[in-house]
Every structure is written in C-alpha cells, then in structure tokens.
Amino acid sequence: MNVLSLYGAEFRRFSVDRFKPGKFEEFYKLIMHVHRIANMEVMIGYADVHGDLLPINNDDNFCKAVSTAHPLLRVFIQRQEEVDYSSYGTHSLTRKKKAVVTLRNDVNRKRPHIRIGMPQDFRPVSSIIDVDILPESHRRVRLYRHGSDKPLGFYIRDGTSVRVTPHGLEKVPGIFISRMVPGGLAESTGLLAVNDEVLEVNGIEVTGKTLDQVTDMMIANSHNLIVTVKPVNQRNNVVRASRISGSSGQSSDSSGSSGYPSLSTAAAPSAHGYPDELESDEESDIVIESSLKRPSRRSNASVASVASNASRSHAQAPPPAPVDSPGPPPRPPSVVSTVSFHSQPSLNSLSNHGSLSYKLHRDLNLQHSQYQHHSSHPALRESNGSLHKILSTMRTDPRHSLALPRGGVEEDGTVITL
C-alpha cells in the first residue's frame, strides 16, 4: 500500500517569489491550477526544517513555510477526505521520513516525530498564557478538556516549598504535581511535569488551601483548567516577551528578584478577566424535555438537546465519514508539489526564525492588552492559540530537550521559589 501510494504520487515543481509570497488564497489557486485539480478539496502541507509535516492553510503559515525554504520547499497535497483517515497518518509519517532524508544531510540524527494533525483537526489542547505578566520562573498553563476523551491525568500532593520573604528563607507548605498519567492530557501537553509547584488554579492562589480543597478546585474547573505552576525544571521557560518588545513596565517589575509576592498583583487583573472567559467556554448542561401533552413538543426537545450538544461538537473531531462520499473512497493518487524559491543568500533561516518569534511575542502582548475584547475576536484568538501550540511544541516539549536530565535537578519535595 505504501508503495502504491508512493507510486501514485504526482510531482510538480514551480517557483514563487520569496519576498513577495503573496496570499495563501493565491497560492492555493496556483496549486490547484498547477495540478489541474480545481474541483477537489485538498490539504496543503509542507516539510519544515525538522522534517515535520506542517500544514499550510492561512497567510501566516504560508509565509512561514516560504521563509523556511532553503531553497527548496516540499509541499504535499492530499485530498481532504484522506486526511481524516487516521490510518493515513502512518503513511504520511513514512513519507515524512523520506522527506527528512531528502531535505537534510544529517541523516544520523533520528528524532522522535510528533504527530501533528491536519489543520481542521486543530483544536486547542493546552496553551501557555499570560507570559508577559508572570515572573519568568512561573508558567500559566491552560488545559482544554472539552471534546477530548483523554483524561486530564495528573496527581497532586502536599509538599514543602521554600520562599524568599522579608525575613529570609521560609519553609511553607505547597501543592505539587506528584504524578502524570501516561497518555493523559497533562502529560501530552508537555507543559506540566512531576514536582512542579502549583501556585494558582484559575487565577486563585492555593496558598493556605488544603490538598483536598485544591483537588476540588481543579476538578470543579476541569472543563477549562488554568494552573499556574512553578516548573521544577526552569530551563524550558518561555523567554520573556518584554525583553524583546520592552512593552510593559508591569512585567519587568515582576521579574525574578522580587519574586512571589508581586505575582499576586500581577495576576490580579487577569484573574478578573477569567469569569467572562469561563462563561463562554463552559459546557452547558444537557436538558432533555419530554413532551407530555402535545406530541409536537418532542421535536422542540430534540432541538434543545442538539443545541446544547452543539457547543461541544464544535470542538470535537469532525465526523469520521465525509457526507458526500459514501462507502470507502477510492484511494486517489496523492499530490506532491515542490516549490523552489528565488532566495537571497544573505537571508538565512535563523533570522527569519527570530523575526517569527518576535511576531509571536507581539501577538502575546496584543493578547494581553486586548484581554477584555477577547471573546469578540475569536479568529485572532484561534490563531494565537495555534501559534502558542507551535511555539510550545518547538521549545518546551521536554521530549525535545534531549540535553536535560530529568529528576535529579532538585531534592524531592522541596522546591525553591524565588
């Protein structure tokens, strides 16, 4: 089957101006035209520098794709329906490996591959938020449970933390993550780790609360859990946005040295921001109303139940079978196109990368400054979310940080929070 699909591929090679890549729409049309598949719904993906298959479905990631090309960019085109089949993912993986081999010279460097779903599969699973208002040593992680059948999957325990107070170091009780459930949401995000100290749950400090209280708070917020942790491993911290953009004085106040006490003030405005957000995100209760007197009510009832389910289904994976093609679709030849770019030798991918991260941070700041308007800009939000996701998988996924020794960093149970 593998061979078949490989043989079934069609190749095209064309060029695009590197500095004026233009809009995604145009590119899409170009591809359609080049492959003469104008009446087909296709997914466009590309192989990035790491050999990962990444999607192209908007202007941003198109730009990014173009900028990473050196000088060749491999673009993969697949039919929309095919993408949805999970079995197809393995094919794409094998193909990706091929892509790595062809694109990169250091064949020896074998890295585990992250599976990245196709764009319409994308839904937020987790995100790092409020980076600019938190001290660098802290991390605020949001876990989205809705629509996921994965368990949240972590345990917390009591422990002792050491804080810097005006009276010197002081031992205080704290709450720590004690265990990750393999395959759980918490583990899969890579943003939380064993022995991370939990500082806040959905904007509320946990100091002075018992383990059971914190457990109940987390479970009560499980549909949209935001935990602020002090990671035990401080080497994966997100680089502070303010360093680059120099935007807010507030965030520079809360940098490292003054430590924990200032966190509460910094976190206060965001804590106020939560409730609105929660309302919009919360799953609504299911109401089944059965008609008693008039049978016509029944239809009404079903509408009600559907409506209430709708809020969940938007986040769920789309239905497995496409509506327009009943039965097993014939496996069409996949389309692979390669785009070559006219590039200036002076412009290397590194600087591009830097500018990208700059843009990301700008977005983060934007997100913060416009916090109140968030719900009115879902599109912006969504794009940020996926950017965060990319950012986090690129930088903080511990599975990618090979050099880091796990455990052994700190004594068990005691974490120094500065």
Binding site: G153, D212, Q213, D216, M217, H223, D285
Partner: protein
C-alpha cells in the same frame, strides 16, 4: 458620580446584612463528652461538671447554664466550690489550680477565670511532693488545703492563691505524732482525703493512702487525734454531728470510727464488708446522712464482689431496711446528695450521680426511689444518633398531642420537681415551639423540645416493633429476681448496644400540620406514621419497591431486608405506623420527603427512587438511577469490609517484611540493634510520610454511586407549560442528574379510587457532574415555594403563580438557577471553583431584620466540607456572609448539621452534645442567667459569722484577686479563654482586669 453612588448602595447593603445576619455559637445541648469531675454548691444550688478536654459547665435551674474552658487542654480532675461564695476552684490533670467566678455583667452572670496557681515545692524536690491529690475548700472561704502525693498538706490563701508556708502540715510532723508501732518507717503515702469537721471548722481530717487518718487542728497547728486503719484508704466522711468518721477502703470495706472522746487514738465502732465473703472491689466513696426520725442514709459506690460483679458500676443506698444497689450502664464519676431546707441541712432529698454517659438523679423521698427526669444534660446518645430533623413553629395542637403521648411514656419518673434550682433564668420565653427529631441506631426517633436553652425530651418513638428482630422483646433487664444479692436495680437510659443495625433511622420527615411522619432506615425500610391519641392494634401493610427495575448482572451483597411482623401489633398512643415500603435491594435510604396534601412519600436509595401513595398504599413510580457499570453501588456495604481486610493484610505484610530485613542483620550488640531500630523507624516514618496524592480528573458518568439519590423535592410549579402549574416530583443524584416527574392527582373526591400517575417530564444532566444536594423552586416573587399545607393553615402567603418560576439546583459545587418551564440556565454561583469548598448541608431560612420588625429576606444556609457556614441570598444566589464554624477535620460534626427555618442550626460536637448556632440577627436562643451571692442565714450554727460577712467577703476576694492578677503577668493572661454562656466575653474579662489595675495604681 456613578462610582460614588454605587459605593452608597454597597454600604446600604452592608448595613442590611448587619441587621439580618449575625453568627453566634449559643449553647451546647446534651451531655458533656467524657466528664471527669463533679462539683456542687449547696448554697448556690449549682452543679458543676468538668470534662477531660478542660471544659467546665455549671447548671442550676433549667435554663441556667454557664460554660468555661481552660486554656490547658488537660482533664479537670476535681471541682470545689468555695463554701457560700460564687467562686470555684478546679484542679487539672497538669496539677494546675484555677479559680473561677460568676460575675454579674449587665444583669447577666458570666463565668470567668480569675486566677491560676501551681504549687511550687522546695527547690530540688521531686514533682510528687507538690502533685495535688486532695483539695479542701475550707468553710471560711479563705483557705484552700492541698494534699499532695508526697503526703504534705499545703495551705493556700484564696482567692489570691498565696501560699501560707507557716501553716503547711508536713509529713514529718504527722509521722512524729503517731505511735511508733504503727507502720514503722513505712511511708504514709499520699494524701487521699481532706475533710473538715462539720461541727468545728478548725479541725481537719487528713486521710493518707496507707490508711492512717489524722485530725489536725488548724489553730494550734498540731495533730489532735489519729485513726489507725490497716487497709488502704479510698475515702473519708465526717458525719454531720462531728462525732463519727466513716472511712472506705480498697478491700471493699467501710469502717465507722468514733472521734468524740478525748483520746488521741479513736476506736473503731464498726467495720463491714457489705458484699463480703469473697474478695470485693474498693468502695471509692462513702457518705452518711442523718434523717430527722429514724436511721441515717448510707450511700457508697463500688464494693461489689470482684469475681461475679466486678464489672458493674454500682452505688448502694441503704436506709433502714431498704437496700438497693443502683446499677448504672457506665462508669461512675462521682455522686452527691441534695438535702432539703434552706441550709441544706434537712432530709436527704435526691441523689445526683454523674456517670460517664449521663446524669442520673434519684428521688430519695418517694417510695421506690424513682428517677427524676433531667431537664438538661440529657443523654442524646443513649443510642447513637444517626440523623436529625428540625421542624420550626409547631402548631400548638400537635405540640400538646406529642407532649401528652410523651407523658404516658414517662410515668415511671418521679413527680418531684427538679431539685437543682440555682440561679435565675432571664432569657425570654422562646418565640415559637421548635421540635428537634433525632433518629437513632436502635430504630428509635426521639422528639426534643428545642425551643429554648434546654433541650428537653418530649417523646420517644420506637420502630422496632414493626419488625421481627433478633432480640427478644421480653428480655427486660429491669426485672430483678426475688432475693438476688446484691439487690441490683438498673438505672439510666444509656444503652449503646443496638439489637439490629438495620433498624437504624436514616431519614425523617414530619409534616407539622397533618401530624404525618415518615421515617426511613438502614435496610431500605420507609414507615409512614400517623399521630393517634389512643393506642391501637394494627398490622402494618408492607409494599416492596423493586428499584432495580430489571437491571441485570447485579448481585446485592449487603444485609437482607427486615422481616415484617404479619400479625397485628399493639402500638401505644403517639405516632403509629400504618404503611411500610421496603426497597429492593434493601440499601440505606438516602433521601426522603413527604407531601401531606397529596398524601405521597418519595424515597431514594443508591439504586433509584420511588413514589408511594400512602392513601391507596401503592407505589406510583419506581425509577432506577443506577449506572450499569457501577458495581460498587450494587454490592452493598459489606464489600467495604473486604477492602479493609486487604489493607490490613498489606500493612501486616509490610511490617513482616521489615522484620525479615531486621533478622537478616545479625543483631549482636546494642549498637546494631539501635541501628536496626533507627532503620525501622525511618521505614515507618517513610510509610507514614508517603505523600498523599489526589487524582485530578473530571468526573465521569462511570464513577461510583452516581445513581445515589441525594435529594427529593415536591413542587407545584410550571413543569411543562407556562400557563398551567402541576404537581411535580424532583430528584437529584450523586452524578449531577436531575429528574423531574409531572404528577397527576385525582380530584379530592376521587382520591381514594383513582390512581395517582407520574410522567417523566425533564432530565437535566449538570455538566460538572457534582452531586445534587438540594432542589428548590422559587415563585414569581423569587421566594421559595411554601411547605405543603402551610398556605391552607394561613401560615404562609400563597406562592405567586403569575410571574415565572425558577428552579434552583444546588450541587456540591454550584448554585444554579434555571428558568421554568423551559429549562435554561439563568445564573449561578460557583463555590468550589472559587475556594475549593463543597456544599455539605443546605437549608432554606427566613432572616428577619433585627432593626425593623417587618423586613426580612429568604436565604440559603450552607455548610461546606471546610466547616464554614455561608448565607446565600435568594433569588439572586449571591454570597452574603460566611463564618468558620466547625473544624474541617470534624467530619461527623459537619455531617450531623441540621438547619432551622429561622437561621439557626445544630451540629454534634461529640456523640452526646449538640452545639447550637445562629446565623440570624433576630432569632437567637442563648442562655441568659443570673446567679446571686448567697445570703447566709445567721442560724447556720456551724459557720456562725456576723451578718453581712458574705457581702464583705464577696467584695474582698474580688479585689484581692485582681491585685494578684496585676502582680502576676502570667496569670493576667488567664482570662484568655474564659467563655461565658458560649459567647465571646473573654475580651471583656481581660479588659475588666486591666481597668482595675489602673485604678489600683
């Protein structure tokens, strides 16, 4: 401007809140947990009880109560009132002495600690030298004699606690005064007893542990007489005329000695082992009281034959030919006798016995020595309390009928009034009649008058008669066979042994208007009872409700159903059962409600819920709520035992493993042994310190016991359309589901024939899946729907049916308001997401304003798993106030909490005590009582003092004490935890002390 206005509104709301809500722990009802000491002041007519946790409680006439708590968490071992004064001295387990007084403040007396003292011996002396074993509060009111373990007697001036070293009675002096041949060089041991000669206050009898008694003259500082007893001494009693001394001993004997003569050695008149022949246990206390005509009363505790009755707790009373061994069900702490007459010098009238679990008072002047019913200190826990239910504002008619039914049960009690009469009860008459019902493990329901400060027993209902139980009903322990020796008589009602745990009462619901009562128990039994003034013989009709509804694959491993008596049973006047529903499987009933207007009872267990029509005696509806994957709910309570067994096995294994690892090391020398011990200790410590972890996981539908029915609610509301209101039944489960059924009731005239029907109308699944603890429907005005029949009796205004109704679903995590009839979420209050606490108990209450008579608000009273009380406003579900109330570790306290309809509540602070609290500013029930300084009558021959002396003495010690406090910074802190009437007066007491200090300087 806008901001300013809002601020104004806020402060206005704050003022209203202050007028509506006020938190107080007001009074403790019931019997103090673990009493350890008893004291009585004949002049004040006050009884004092000290407990092992360091509390002292004073009781006088019904309603007169004081409470104090020592700072030290040490047991109170002795309590002594200073004769003819309002002070008392307590001795604690930690050898500290404390002085308490009753001080009038704004017309109400308060119990305050005014000083503390610890005996300091000569430097270098062992602690036993100053360890106090006996205390005598001298009748002068100025001296305290302290006998110690070392055998010395220290004399201390009170209330200032000044040691009078020159008056101490040292062991050496005493030893020199007794004949050489007695005892030789053996120690006299500790001071067991100190007694003052009733006829001569200057003579004090010192009893030593080895048996020697010495009469010491305080004036001439020398021994006057000695009594050479050979058996270890237990107690000493000086007869009223001062001519004889009684001593009781550890071999079960008591002796009478004449001390009238001038000889230095007194003679033994009589020595007797009352339950003799075989070895007997010690007689721990003996007293003898004269009567005007005829022989005296002799009372002693203990002395039972060791082998056959060594486990009995007995007090023997002998008067003339009557000899009774009162047999108590728990250990005797202490006892005293109250005497008639103004000087307490008359005939013995009542015997007051404090046993570990109750206070028993026996009328000594009525034939047969019946028990006098106690108006307070009632043993709530005569059988363990399993649930409670409070009904406010009982109609007079029902009240009287319950009282008269109760009176018929209490014919065996003495008719005499309560003999302890000290103090004046100044608290106003309760505004309404409130009933507290407690369900007990033995299947009884007790009705208590909870209107005022005294929780008074009214009536007791037993449900055991409906069923066949293992226990033989004719097994009456009170029957004593003729000629039995010792002549036992069972007294007291504390009986912790339940015949059949299945009888335990779990849920109670009483309709105060109709007198219908429903109670449900551990084995899935639901009884419906009706109040009947006549006794009746009837069979109880049983109906089985199969809650499984054909669910397959489950096996109930719990207890079996109770077996119902087929034959008619004679029920005494009172609440008589006429209908019975038995759930199948017979799991414990978890929710119960009754609608007397519709004549329906709804019940729920961990498997489902049902609706029973008690007029037609049939099941209207049975609904299974079980989740097919929930095995735990199915297996019943026994499966828990397995897991305990398992964990036990594991811990044994762990210990064995560590022992094995120990054995491997050849333990030859001490160092190695120590090493191994240290390792074992470390291992154990690690085992203990192994972090407790909690799983963070969203609740799923597969969790255990999601089908358990937590709450049931009847409402006449708009369930299906907004123009017609219909009767409805609502059920909430542990898994966050709400089921609503529309009920169709036949017209009143067809009610007996036509069937009641129930149709499923709505199901709500809360997405947060937290257990639903309460459901409430609010009318168009936003007030909760009235209780059934409340409107019919003109006691509530009829609900507003014009505006739209709202449904309030209270889960453990959230308060959520939905619209009706179309259920859509309107607003909510999140509790758990904000502060991590969960709702444990919730009640609907009316809060009246303390300032304006006609203003009030409805609210929810909420108790969380953290032990905090909250008031949540209705219909807006906004948090109003919150107060920490119960320690969060006190799980049984939190579980036992019950709210009243007027913002008060009760919870168990021990198995035997209810704490009463109030969240309302208007409705507060708390003791207010005044104790006046006793006026001495000049005829009191033994303590002949000039008139007005008491007045003088009252003033002086107070001043003295305050000076003392000023001088001693340490003691100045003692006011710290003095509680009076359960209120927060301790700050007052400290400030008073300070004020006096300033005056003095």
């Amino acid at each position: 401007m806008k901001r300013f206005r809002r601020h104004g509104q806020e402060s206005h709301r704050d003022r209203i809140k202050q007028e509506l809500y006020q938190f107080n722990k007001t009074v403790e009802h019931g019997f103090p947990h673990q009493p350890s000491a008893l004291g009585f002041s004949p002049s004040l007519q006050l009884l004092a009880i000290g407990t092992r946790s360091g509390a002292i409680k004073l009781y006088g006439a019904p309603g007169v109560e004081f409470m104090g708590l020592h700072d030290e968490n040490a047991a109170v071992t002795q309590i002594h009132f200073l004769p003819h004064l309002v002070e008392l001295v307590t001795l604690l387990d930690d050898n500290s002495l404390h002085m308490w007084t009753l001080k009038a403040h704004k017309g109400v007396s308060e119990l305050l600690e005014i000083g503390r003292f610890t005996l300091t011996g000569p430097p270098g002396a062992p602690p036993s030298v100053t360890r106090v074993t006996a205390v005598l509060a001298h009748s002068s009111g100025e001296l305290l004699l302290l006998g110690t373990e070392g055998g010395h007697v220290f004399v201390v001036e009170v209330p200032g606690f000044r040691e009078l070293e020159e008056r101490n009675i040292s062991l050496e002096i005493v030893t020199h005064s007794i004949p050489e041949e007695y005892g030789g060089r053996r120690s006299l041991e500790h001071v067991e007893s100190l007694q003052e000669n009733p006829a001569n206050p200057q003579q004090v009898l010192i009893g030593y542990g080895r048996g020697l008694m010495v009469i010491w003259d305080l004036d001439c500082q020398s021994a006057v007489k000695h009594i050479l007893a050979t058996q270890p001494l237990e107690s000493v009693w000086w007869t009223e005329d001062g001519l004889r001394v009684l001593s009781s001993h550890s071999d079960g004997s008591y002796c009478r000695w004449s001390v009238a003569g001038l000889d230095t050695q007194s003679e033994q008149e009589k020595s007797e082992v009352p339950y003799g022949h075989f070895p007997c246990k010690a007689i721990s206390k003996v007293i003898q009281l004269p009567t005007k005509q005829g022989p005296p009363f002799l009372l002693f505790s203990g002395g039972m034959p060791r082998a056959s009755y060594g486990d009995r707790h007995c007090i023997t009373v002998i008067h003339s030919k009557t000899h009774v061994a009162l047999d108590f069900t728990s250990r005797i702490i202490d006892f005293f006798v109250i005497r008639d007459g103004p000087d307490q010098a008359g005939e013995p009238s009542a015997l007051v016995v404090l046993v570990e679990e109750e206070l028993v008072v026996i009328d000594l002047q009525t034939e047969g020595w019946p028990v006098i019913q106690t108006p307070y200190l009632v043993p709530l826990h005569c059988s363990a309390i399993t649930c409670s239910h409070h009904v406010s504002a009982i109609p007079l008619k029902l009240w009287e009928r319950v009282l008269s039914a109760g009176a018929l049960q209490n014919t065996h009690y003495s008719k005499k009034p309560w003999p302890i009469t000290g103090g004046l009860n100044l608290s106003p008459d309760p505004p309404q009649r409130d009933l507290l019902l407690t369900g007990h493990e033995d299947g009884t329901v007790r009705f208590w008058d909870a209107s005022g400060v005294c929780l008074y027993p009214m009536y007791k209902l037993s449900t055991a008669g409906v069923f066949h139980t293992d226990a033989d009903p004719n097994d009456n322990m009170n029957q004593c066979t003729e000629g039995e020796w010792p002549p036992f008589r069972k007294v007291g009602c504390f009986d912790p042994y339940s015949d059949d745990p299945r009888l335990g009462i779990q849920k109670i619901h009483l309709c105060k208007y109709s007198g219908y009562l429903t109670v449900a128990g551990t084995a899935g039994q639901i009884l419906v009872l009706e109040l009947n003034d006549e006794s009746a013989e009837q069979a109880v009709e049983a109906t089985v409700a199969d809650l499984l509804q054909g669910q397959e694959g489950f096996r109930w491993k719990g207890h079996t159903r109770l077996e119902v008596r087929e034959e008619p049973v004679l029920f005494p006047p009172g609440f008589q059962p006429f209908a019975l529903v038995q759930c199948q499987p017979p799991a414990v009933v978890t929710a119960l409600t009754l609608h007397s207007e519709w004549k329906l009872v709804a019940f729920g267990t961990s498997h489902g819920f049902g609706l029973y029509d008690y007029q037609q005696k049939n099941n209207v509806l049975v609904r299974c709520t079980l989740n097919p994957s929930d095995q735990l709910a199915m297996e019943g309570p026994l499966s828990r035992v397995k897991s305990i067994k398992k964990s036990l096995r594991q811990s044994f294994r762990r210990i064995r493993r560590s022992r094995v690892s120990l054995r491997k090391h050849h333990v030859n020398n001490a160092a190695k042994l120590q090493d191994a011990n240290a390792r074992l200790e470390a291992e154990l410590a690690e085992m203990e310190l192994a972090p407790v972890q909690r799983k963070i996981e969203a609740r799923s539908s597969d969790d255990s016991f999601t089908g358990l029915v937590r709450t049931l609610y009847f409402a006449d509301t708009f369930l299906s359309d907004s123009s017609h209101n219909t009767p409805s039944l609502w059920a909430g489960t542990n898994g966050g589901s709400v089921f609503a059924y529309q009920l169709r009731l036949p017209s009143v005239e067809r009610r007996a024939e036509d069937l009641v029907t129930a149709h499923p109308a709505k199901e709500i699944q809360l997405m947060h899946r937290a257990p639903v603890v309460a459901i409430l429907v609010m009318d168009g005005h936003g007030s909760p729907l009235p209780e059934p029949l409340e409107v019919a009796h003109d006691l509530a205004r009829s609900p507003d049916m014009q505006g739209s109704h709202h449904l309030l679903v209270i889960s453990e995590e959230q308060f959520k308001v939905f619209t009706l009839p179309k259920v859509s979420a309107k607003m909510k209050l999140k509790l758990t997401a904000i502060d991590g606490s969960r709702v444990r108990r919730v009640g609907v209450a009316w809060f009246g304003s303390s300032c304006s008579e006609d203003y009030g608000e409805s609210g929810l009273t909420v108790l969380t798993n953290q032990g905090d009380l909250h008031v949540v406003s209705l219909p807006g579900v906004k948090m109003q106030v919150h107060h920490p109330c119960i320690r969060r570790e006190d799980v049984s306290g939190i579980a036992s909490c019950v709210f009243t309809k007027h913002g008060q509540g009760f919870y168990l602070i021990s198995p035997s005590e209810f704490e009463r609290f109030s969240l309302s500013a208007r409705c507060v029930v708390e003791p207010r009582s005044l104790v006046e300084v006793p006026h001495q009558t000049p005829t009191s021959l033994s303590r002949a003092q000039p008139d007005g002396a008491s007045e003088y003495r009252y003033e002086q010690p107070e001043r003295a004490s305050k000076n003392h406090l000023c001088n001693n910074m340490k003691t100045a802190l003692t006011g710290g935890k003095a509680l009076s009437n359960g209120g927060d007066f301790h700050i007052c007491s400290v400030s008073i002390v300070k004020e006096e200090c300033n005056d003095g300087e």
